[in-house]
Amino acid sequence: MTAALDILPVTQMPADGPYGPAGTHGVTARLFDPPALATLAARRGGGIALAAAARVELGLDLADAPRLSRADGLSAIGTAPGRWLLLAGTEGDLAARLAPLAPHAAITEQTDAYVGVEIDGPHARDLLAKGVSLDLDPAAFPPGAAATTNVAHVNVSFWREPGEDRFVFLVARSYRVAFARFLVASGAEYGLELVHRG
């Protein structure tokens, strides 16, 4: 419990705005609804064919590792061997777009399963150090690195954006308030700006 959390009900998303000492702004968290999301899981023995199909059909180089692959507005985050979360930059029928992969993979619609949270700012890593049990030093977790892990009892997948010092989290929808409370509790010290991105 913190002074910041004390006044926030656990049943409501914390409102947009600054949390922390007046005049400080060390980290920004932008919450957003992913435009389209799906899980892609290679069929038994279908990993190589799937990778080939993804390359041909989507121009996507699916890394079979906890990394981000991206092509043509489509991001693939490795979550398990032969398994990815696919995130499209725009709304639309992601399943249809992935249909060419269907012979080699199970495709499962997950657009509504997660909320996204972008976290950046000079104190982004300080905030995240309070919940992420991974070494986020760029040498250990370089741009494009991804992970699925537990943060403050909440399961998340996240990656480090290439080119920008920014982390993007996908959080199960039913846990979104709990995760936001972690952000407020951990980030208020540095001045946290919480924004719902339209």
Partner: protein, 87 residues
Amino acid sequence: MRIPCPYCGARDASEFAYLGDATLTRPDPAAPDAADAFHAYVYLRDNPAGAHSEWWYHAGGCRRWVKVARDTTTHAIAGAELAEGAR
């Protein structure tokens, strides 16, 4: 204790669910001695003080079952492999 998940990398053991002895094989249910074999499979354990092969499920990560070689007297981990190979 950090479990070296072959896919995710080293993660705190609290991300995993533990099942235990990974040397056991599910017996043939049709075999004439199935009752005895299942009794041994479900209930009896070597429980060694020393090298132990054990199942950990990476519930908070890749949701893969990982076979970990760990010493039960020192907790030192000699290696880890996924239950199933690459897909």
